[in-house]
């Protein structure tokens, strides 16, 4: 019996390098200038966008991590859904994907086959084609994809261009990080784990398809940095946003587990990073943890004009029933994020 998890010190997007540390290192790299690079890493957006001609741009992204679930096929599906998500978050359509694999010499190859099969399922579902990959031996198993997609350069969903008066929609429930932490601590119930895995495996494709019939001012996907860090990133310099605490969707058990302190290191890193950007006020501890919770293959977080937000929400709810309007965009205030 192999154990994927026991080979890993931390898994999923919770293993991401903290946003603060990362930006310190990135800021030392030279700035590359090419007018065709419409979105580069200096924008800390979800994926890079490079213009080919007036109507076509390619969107390119890479993502991989170590397992956060025991079942290799589920892990493959989650890692692929997570990698593909960046393309959807930019408003693009995936075209082809390459496998990235790190795998211990000591583990059975059967499990690797399962991981790749899970990933292939999701690539198929996305409509893209699997076109190759790269694999090396490593102490900890890791899997992910490099994905290339197509995008209309006039309709890029950037992550930091919301307009005051917009409403904000979150398409998937929060809490998968906490539930996976509870699973590591052998304290998660089966139903909660099922809900979390099914949420992480679900492609953001379907929500994105609904969004294409509406004007979208900004969009990103929630990752290991947690909801609040992405919300702050979205506000940019020009706006602030208010989040409706009572409207945030989350997996029910995650709230209980957070109250029992089944919390992650990444959640605490996210909390430290957000110091001074949000006044948590009297928000319950559990809800705070959910807002900081690192999401693996999280939902889309988008900003759309208020006039069509309700209609857009109804459309998204056909494919993501737990989607909610979770806040609105304001003119710049003294803090980027306010809670109501």
């Amino acid at each position: 019996m192999i154990s994927l998890l026991s080979n890993c010190t931390s898994g999923g997007c919770g293993a991401k390098i903290g946003p603060g540390e990362l930006s310190k290192v990135l800021s030392r790299l030279p700035a590359f200038c090419d007018p065709k690079l419409l979105v580069g890493f200096d924008a800390s957006d979800d994926a890079a966008v490079y213009q080919i001609n007036a109507d076509t741009a390619i969107v390119s992204t890479v993502d991989f991590f170590s397992p956060m679930v025991e079942d290799p096929r589920s892990f493959g599906r989650i890692a692929a859904a997570n990698a593909l998500s960046d393309v959807y978050a930019m408003g693009g359509t995936p075209l082809f994907a390459l496998n990235l694999v790190c795998y211990p010499e000591s583990l059975e190859l059967d499990a690797l086959g399962e991981i790749l099969a899970g990933g292939a399922e999701k690539i198929q579902e996305s409509g893209a084609v699997l076109s190759g990959g790269h694999s090396i031996y490593d102490k900890e198993p890791k899997y992910g994809l490099a994905v290339t997609g197509r995008l209309d350069p006039k309709q890029i969903w950037r992550n930091n261009t919301p307009a005051p008066g917009d409403q904000l929609i979150l398409t998937k429930p929060l809490g998968v990080g906490i539930i996976m932490a509870a699973l590591r601590g052998e304290m998660a119930d089966e139903q909660a784990v099922k809900a979390a895995i099914s949420s992480m495996q679900r492609l953001n494709k379907y929500a994105a398809e609904k969004m294409h019939s509406f004007p979208i001012n900004a969009c990103t996907d929630i990752t290991g940095f947690g909801l609040l860090a992405h919300a702050r990133e979205m506000t940019g310099e020009a706006t602030s946003m208010v989040l409706y605490r009572s409207e945030l969707p989350y997996i029910q058990q995650a709230y209980e587990y957070a109250g029992d302190y089944l919390i992650t290191a990444a959640g605490q890193r996210n909390r430290n990073h957000m110091q001074g950007f949000v006044d948590l006020g009297d928000t319950s501890f559990a809800l705070q943890e959910l807002m900081f919770d690192p999401q693996t293959s999280g939902g889309l977080f988008l900003s759309a004009p208020k006039a069509c937000a309700q209609e857009l929400l109804s459309a998204i709810q056909e494919v993501e029933p737990q989607a909610k309007i979770v806040g609105e965009v304001l003119l710049h205030q003294n803090l980027p994020i306010l809670l109501r």
Partner: protein, 201 residues
């Protein structure tokens, strides 16, 4: 007293193990010492201790090991602790830092002096009630400043750290502030007016 060695373990395991052994002590309470090898685990343990109403403290040991001590049981509730602190007379001392150097002279020297000054403030007993930053002083409170850890420790010890928002805005570093609360001139004036003594830098 229970000792738990959580070195090499990642959250939530240290928190779960600590919570279990606290629970096993029942009403009588007791002391749990936990060894962890990273500061995030320490923060999560203390977050849990505070949430459950226990006192906690920590000490840095060799090789990056941190020892967290949590005291549970009667007389240790945080509410009682706060009352105790409130009955202690506070220092009434406010430290106002309006520049990123200390004293007149070579700015190179002034820059290193002020960092030493902030460290020394942290060692004061009793601690000041407030540390205020305005004008170029605000750069000391950014996450790029290497005084940030000292300031965070002050804040963790209940010292109110206030940063002038107008100033961070003017210098374009609001996003980089890594400690304290952003405030306006009223916040600064109120803190100064309620001080018994002020150190002005």
């Amino acid at each position: 007293m229970t000792n738990i060695d959580c070195t090499g373990q990642v959250c939530p395991i240290p928190v779960i193990r600590t919570k279990k052994s606290l629970a096993a002590m029942g009403e009588a309470g007791g002391v749990v010492t936990v060894l962890v090898d990273n500061d995030i685990s320490r923060q999560n343990l203390q977050k849990m201790a505070t949430g459950l109403g226990y006192q906690s403290e920590y000490q840095q040991r060799d090789n990056g090991i941190i020892e967290v001590t949590i005291v549970a049981g009667e007389g240790c509730a945080v509410e009682q602790q706060t009352i105790a602190i409130e009955s202690d007379e506070d220092s009434g001392l406010v430290v106002a830092i309006g520049r990123d150097t200390m004293g007149a002279g070579d700015p190179e020297l002034g820059k290193i002096l002020i960092k030493g000054f902030i460290y020394a403030v942290k060692e004061l007993t009793p601690l000041p009630t407030h540390v205020l930053f305005f004008n170029s002083g605000v750069s000391l409170a950014t996450s790029e400043s290497n005084s940030i850890e000292d300031l965070r420790e002050l804040e963790a010890a209940s010292v109110v750290v206030l940063i002038c928002g107008t100033c961070t805005n003017y210098y374009g570093i609001t996003e980089k502030i890594g400690v304290g609360e952003i405030t306006n001139m009223y916040g600064i004036v109120t803190a100064m007016a309620s001080a018994k003594r002020i150190i002005n830098i």
